[in-house]
Amino acid sequence: MTPALLARAIVAVPAWPLAAAAALGAWWALVGKPSERVTARVVVGSLGLQLASAVCALVAFLWGGGNAVHIRSGRWFEAGAYGFELTFLVDALSAPLVVLAALLTFLVAWFSVRYLHREPGFFRFFTLLAVFAAGAGLLFGGGSYDILFIGWELVGLTSALLIGFFHERRTPMRAALRAITTYRVCDIGLVVGAVFIHDVAHGAAYVEAFGPAPWPHGTLHASAPEATLIVLCLLVAASGKSALLPVGTWLPRAVEGPTPSSALYYCALSVHAGAYLLLRSTPFLRASTVGAACVAAVGFGSAALASMIGRAQVDAKGAIAWASMTHVGLIVAEIGLGFPRVALVHLVAHALLRTWQMLRAPSWLHDELALRAAADGAPLPTGSFWQAIVPARALDALYRLAYDRFFFETAQQRYVAGPVLRLGRYLDRAERRWVEAVGAWHPPAAPPDSARPSAMNTRVEEAQHEP
C-alpha cells in the first residue's frame, strides 16, 4: 500500500452516494417508495463510506509528504482532437475540503433523520442529498475544470429542488426559480472560462493548466490579458454560486428549504464552491492584477453590503444567511488580495461555525433568551461601534436601503428579467399574428390574463417585503 494507491480512494468519494441515489431511484421506479428506515440507512451508510474514503485520501496525502496525487480514470468520450478526461486530484486544497464536505454532509444527514421524521418528502430529501454529496465530491475532488463543472451543476440542481422542497406553497417555488436562474446565467461564465482554459493550457486539468507545482503555486502558459479574461469569467460564475452581490440576492430567499439543507448548502458547502473555484485558480489571479483587483473589490463590496443588510433582518435564518454571505465576501476578498491559505482556513472555519449556527436556528429563541439572561436583560451591544461613528441621518438612510436590500432585486427584475420576457412576449405575439395570417385563422378571444391566477408572477412589491 503506497500513498499514491491509497489516494485513489478519492474516486470512491462521489461514487458511494451516487450509487445510493441510483439504487434508491431504481427502487422507487420499479417497486415503490422505500420506508424511512431503509432510505436513512442507505443514504447515511453511503455518506459514512464517503467520509471514510475522504479520510483515506487525506491520510494518503499527508503520508505521501504533502505531494499532490493526480489520478486519471480514462476518457469519458472524445471526438477529433478533443476528449473529456476523467481526472481527480488530491492536494493541499482538495484533500481538506473533500473531508470537510464529507463530514458535514454526513453530520447533516444524520441530523436530518430525526429532524425530518414523518415529513412527507423524507425520501425526496435524502435522495437529493445523496446526489448533492456526489456532486460535492466531484466538485472538490475533481482534477479538472470540466469535472468541477459537472459537480457544480449537480449541486446547483439539487440546491434548487431542495429550496422548493415545500412545494405546496408559492414562495419556495419562486425562491427556487430565482436561484436556478442566477445559477444558469452565471454558469455561462464557468463554461466560457473553462473553454478559454482549454485553449490556453491545451487541457482543462489542473496539472495541465498549472504544471506540477503544488497549490497555490503554478506555472501559467497564459499572458496577462488572457488570465484577466479567465479570472473575470470565473468571477461571474463564482458570484452566482457563492451569492456575491449584486447577483447573490437569491441566497436569503433560499432558506425557504428545510433547515438541514439550508445549513449544508448555504452555510457549508455550496456557498463556498465559488470561493473554491477562485482558490483553485490562484495562479490565474497571480498572473492578472486587474482580475485579482476585481475579485477583491467584489468580495469587499459584497461583504460590506451583506453586513448592513443582515443587520436589518427580522428572522433568524435570514440573518444567518446574510451573515454567511458577508463572510463569503470576505473570503473572496482575501483570495483577491493574494492570501489563498488564509482564505482556505477562513473557509473551513466559517463552514463549521455557520453550519452549527444554522442547525440551531430553530432553537434560536431559546438561545437568544439565554444570551439576554446572561447580559442581565440589557440589549446586546452589537453594532455600537458603527453607531458611534456614522452620523444618525446616514444611519437612517443606510437602514432604509438595507431593509430594501439595496434594490438589487428590483434592478434585476426591471433591467434584466423584465426586458427579456417582454422581448419574448413581443416575438410570440408577432409569431402568432403571421402564422394565423398564413392559415387565415382567427383564434377565439382568450380570457384576460388577470383571470388566470399565475403562481409565478414575480411582482416586485410582493417580492421585496417577503421574509
Binding site: 469519458w76 477529433g80 405546496e168 410570440d428
Partner: protein, 492 residues
C-alpha cells in the same frame, strides 16, 4: 429480401393490420406489436452493424425502374444506423405512450405509416426514393387533420401543413430532378444514386444553384427561423401522434449530412459560414420565445426550434467536434422532446389544458409524472449525465474553435432553455393546486411509465456511455471534415 427492406415494410404491414383489425382493441394491439417488432428489428440491424467501418453496409441494389430511373438501393452507414432505432423508439413511444383517446385506429395506422416512410428515408441511397419518402411522411398526417372537430382550426392546420411542409418540399424535388438530369447526362445507369453521384462530383455552377434550394427545403423541415412557423401550430393544434414524428429534426439533419455536404462541397465552403451565424441566431431566438411561453406545447415547439438552430449551427461549423456533437444532438433532442411531449399529452388528457397556470400541485398527486418531466427537461437542456450534455459539450468546443463570438449565442441559448424548462416545471407541477381542481391529477399509468422509463434509460445510458454512438458516426464526421479541409484554400 434484404433485411433493411423488411425493416421498412414491417411498420407499413402493421399499419395494414391495424386498419383491418375487427375491433378497436385488436387494432391497438396490432399497432403496439408492430411498433415493438420494428424496434426489435432495428436493434437487430444495429447489432449486426460493424462500428467504425467506413462506407455502406448491408447494401442491396434492385433493378432500375425504366421510365423514372429510380432504383431501390438501400444501405446503412454510421450516420443512419443510429437513426433507425431512434425512429422506432419514437414510434413505440407514440403508439404506446400517447393517450388512448387521441390514438384511435386511424392515428395508430398513420403513425406506423410515418415510421415506415421515415425508415425508408434513412435506408435509401437513391435520391428519388428519398424525395418520395420525404413527401410521403406527410401524407398520413393530412388524413388525420381532417378529423379535427373545429372547422376553422382544421383549415388553419391544414393550410399550415400545405404551405410549410408540402410546398416546402418542392425545392427538394427540384434539386433532386436537377441532380437526376446531371446523372443522366453523365451516363449513370441509375441517375439518382447517391453513391455514384458522390463519386462523380457535381460541377461548381450546379452546386451554387442547388445549394439555396436544398437549404430552404431542409430549413423548412427542420424548423429553423424563418421557416419555423409550422412547428408551434402543429404541436399546439395538430394531431398528436404524427406531430411527434414530423417534428423530428433528425430527418432534416440527415438530409444535410447525406445530400448537401457530400454533393455540394464547394457551395458549402461558401455558404456554411453565414448559415452558421443564422442558425445560432435561430437558436437564441427560439430560446427567447420559448421563455415567454405559457402553454407547454408551444414551449416545446420553440425549444425544438432552438435545438434545430443548435444542430444546424454545429453542422455548419464543419469541424470534427461540432459535427459529431450536432449529430449526437439530433438523437438527444429526439429522445428528450419526445419524452416531454408524451408527458405533456398525458397531462392534457387528464386536465384538458396545457396552460402552465392552469396546473399546480401535481407533484403530490402524480409524483412519477413530475419526476419524468423533470428528467426529460434536464435531458433537453444538457444536464451532465444526459446524452445532451455530451453533444452540447462537443458542439461548444467545435463552435468555439471556429468562431468564438458565436459560442456566446450558443451558451446564452442553452442557459435560457434551462431556465425555461425549470420555470415550466415549477409552474406546472409544483406550487399550490389551482382553485378549480384541488383533487389532483392521476399519475402515469403503467404503459406510460414504461415508455417514459425506456426513453429515460436511453438518455442516461447514452449520456454515461456515449462512445458507441460517437464511434458509429466517426467515419462520416471524418469524411465531412476532410472534404472541407480539402476545399479550404478555395473556400474560406
Amino acid at each position: 429480401m434484404n433485411g433493411l427492406t423488411a425493416l421498412v415494410l414491417l411498420p407499413a404491414f402493421a399499419a395494414l393490420l391495424t386498419r383491418l383489425a375487427p375491433t378497436a382493441e385488436g387494432a391497438r394491439r396490432a399497432a403496439i406489436a408492430g411498433a415493438l417488432a420494428t424496434l426489435l428489428a432495428s436493434l437487430l440491424v444495429v447489432a449486426s452493424f460493424d462500428l467504425g467501418a467506413p462506407g455502406m453496409q448491408m447494401e442491396w441494389a434492385g433493378a432500375v425502374v425504366p421510365w423514372a430511373r429510380m432504383q431501390w438501393h438501400v444501405g446503412v452507414d454510421g450516420l443512419s444506423v443510429v437513426l433507425l432505432p431512434l425512429t422506432s423508439l419514437i414510434g413505440v413511444a407514440t403508439t404506446l405512450g400517447l393517450p388512448r383517446q387521441s390514438m384511435n385506429r386511424a392515428s395508430l395506422a398513420a403513425t406506423l405509416l410515418t415510421v415506415s416512410a421515415t425508415l425508408g428515408l434513412f435506408v435509401t441511397l437513391d435520391l428519388a426514393w428519398l424525395a418520395v419518402f420525404w413527401l410521403v411522411r406527410l401524407a398520413p398526417g393530412l388524413d388525420l387533420i381532417a378529423a379535427t372537430p373545429d372547422p376553422d382550426l382544421r383549415r388553419h392546420v391544414r393550410r399550415t401543413w400545405w404551405v410549410f411542409l408540402v410546398a416546402g418540399s418542392a425545392p427538394l424535388f427540384a434539386a433532386v430532378i436537377a441532380l437526376g438530369v446531371l446523372g443522366n447526362r453523365a451516363g449513370l445507369a441509375a441517375p439518382f444514386d447517391l453513391v455514384q453521384l458522390t463519386a462523380m462530383g457535381v460541377p461548381r455552377a450546379w452546386q451554387l444553384a442547388l445549394f439555396p434550394a436544398l437549404v430552404v427545403a431542409v430549413g423548412m423541415r427542420m424548423a429553423v427561423v424563418p421557416f419555423h412557423g409550422w412547428m408551434s401550430v402543429l404541436l399546439e393544434h395538430g394531431p398528436p401522434g404524427v406531430a411527434l414524428l414530423i417534428t423530428g429534426a433528425h430527418v432534416a439533419l440527415y438530409a444535410i449530412a447525406r445530400i448537401i455536404l457530400p454533393l455540394l462541397p464547394d457551395a458549402c465552403a461558401v455558404g456554411m459560414g453565414p448559415l452558421m451565424i443564422a442558425a445560432l441566431l435561430c437558436a437564441l431566438y427560439g430560446s427567447v420565445v420559448a421563455l415567454a411561453q405559457d402553454d407547454l406545447r408551444r414551449m416545446v415547439a420553440y425549444l425544438a426550434v432552438s435545438h434545430a438552430g443548435l444542430m444546424a449551427g454545429g453542422l455548419a461549423s464543419m469541424n470534427a467536434q461540432s459535427v459529431a456533437g450536432s449529430l449526437l444532438q439530433s438523437v438527444a433532442s429526439g429522445l428528450s422532446l419526445t419524452g416531454l411531449l408524451i408527458i405533456i399529452r398525458a397531462l392534457h388528457a387528464r386536465t384538458g389544458t396545457s396552460h402552465m397556470d392552469d396546473h399546480g400541485g401535481i407533484a403530490r398527486s402524480a409524483p412519477r409524472m413530475s419526476v419524468f418531466f423533470l428528467l426529460f427537461g434536464l435531458a433537453a437542456v444538457g444536464f451532465p449525465t444526459t446524452i445532451t450534455y455530451v453533444s452540447e459539450d462537443l458542439l461548444l468546443h467545435g463552435v468555439l474553435d471556429a468562431h468564438p463570438l458565436m459560442a456566446v449565442l450558443l451558451l446564452l441559448a442553452t442557459a435560457l432553455n434551462g431556465i425555461t424548462l425549470l420555470r415550466a416545471f415549477f409552474r406546472t407541477f409544483m406550487g399550490p393546486p389551482p382553485r378549480g381542481a384541488p383533487g389532483g391529477v392521476d399519475d402515469l399509468v403503467p404503459r406510460e411509465r414504461a415508455v417514459a422509463f425506456l426513453l429515460t434509460t436511453s438518455i442516461f445510458l447514452g449520456g454515461l456511455y456515449p462512445r458507441p454512438l460517437l464511434e458509429a458516426r466517426q467515419p462520416v464526421v471524418a469524411a465531412i471534415v476532410s472534404r472541407d479541409a480539402h476545399r479550404a484554400p478555395h473556400g474560406h
